[in-house]
């Protein structure tokens, strides 16, 4: 069963996630010295999302960016699975379920923040009633 029935449900979680990310002390601290923007496309839902780590400031939100350092494309179920522990990101990439372009090496450096992303995503999911 898919994690989200509609794009609206998924967008609600992402919007909440963006709100939490921008005020999360751990992420703000981790963003110091970084200048990195990632954009995400979820083609199954036709939804776009982005996260920026701008030297002490975190920005995130729904929408398509003209430019970003790295671009990730995956179905919403894969994104949800990565943060709920059902999907291994490396395996998803090897299987072709997670597509990437741009400065992938820079994006990989955010791997150390995965636990924070998971924590925030689960909170966003819960607050959005999912």
């Amino acid at each position: 069963m898919p994690a989200f029935q509609t794009a609206e449900e998924f967008k609600q979680v992402l919007a909440k996630m963006a709100e939490l990310m921008q005020s999360d002390a751990a992420l703000i601290q981790a963003s110091k010295g970084k200048n990195l923007t990632l954009s995400y496309e979820f083609p199954d839902m036709d939804v776009f999302f982005y996260t920026s780590f701008l030297d002490g400031k975190v920005e995130a939100g729904l929408g398509e960016l003209e430019e970003s350092d790295a671009q990730l494309t995956m179905d919403s179920d894969i994104f949800d699975g990565m943060f709920t522990g059902k999907v291994n990101a490396a395996k998803a990439a090897m299987k072709g379920d997670l597509a990437f372009s741009g400065n992938v090496a820079a994006a990989m450096r955010l791997q150390s923040l995965m636990d924070d992303f998971k924590r925030i995503y689960l909170q966003a999911r819960s607050e959005a009633g999912k």
Binding site: E41, P43, T73, A90, K91, M94, K95, G96, F100
Partner: protein, 332 residues
Amino acid sequence: MKILVTAQLDEEALVTLRRYGEVEYRSYGEQMQVLAGSKLVKALEGVNVLVTEVDQVRRYVFPKVPELRVISCCRGSPVNIDLEAATEYGIPVLTTPGRNADAVADLTVLFMLALLRHFLPVASILREPGDGMEKLARVFTQYRGAELWEKTVGLVGLGAVGRAVAARVRAFGAYVVAYDPYVTQEQANALGVTLLSLDELLQRADIISLHTAVTDETTGLIGEREFRLMKKGAYFINTARPALADETALYHALRDGHLAGAALDVFQDEPPPPDHPLLRLDNVIATPHIGGSTAEVITHQSRIAVADLVRLFEGQRPLHCANPQVLDHFRW
């Protein structure tokens, strides 16, 4: 005809394709880019043939790319293509089975020889500090090796890779037995291979090597019972897929000394962490899924893919099509 190639193809293949259309070559390996979603749709504007290896061709892509007529997927199984959707849209999905058969077979034989000759510890012994004579003594007592000659090699699966392994090890003077319910004894005879039941193979082989695809039938094919059926002192090799064998059961069979050693190119979690139990065993050779990673695989897949595309361009039936039912009504 517009042909977009994102798979890695060799120059000879590209030259052949250019005889049939305008070719855009954007190898994912060079571009470090996997196409998906809107990027893939944009890349496919006006494209009639896509030659891909990793791009995500999902259901929602097809209605947005009406000019796409054929997908050539440079994989044995087109896991990155929504085959059902391609079939609904009448698009043949061509595949390249056996493209890495030689590469994986080479690695498998390397593993067999390395296990039999204790290659990993022996190759590092000269670099270790210590008395030279003591090292030599250790080599001749602890690490005396064995030959493939007259060993019984048991192949689970006799497809392209299994056959390539059989041909190689027969040249070493080994006996080859195999378990493959989809191969006849007559076909096996032509390869110099004796077909056995799985249990018989496990009980007779000195080296057991897996070469089957993952299906409902083969998932978990080798578990605790099967490892116990193997001869004491046998070697186990998996260069195929991790889902075929139970890692925990393998660990116990190795730790308890029932198996003499194992060589693994695939793990449930890839890459496995350094503290993975199997990596802590001295009698395990482990590599990070390098089986198909050779320069020549590009040549193999180029030849298989282009030969089938040429057949289709020339109005003939391709040999390797994952949805052959669409070929009956296929029109350019």
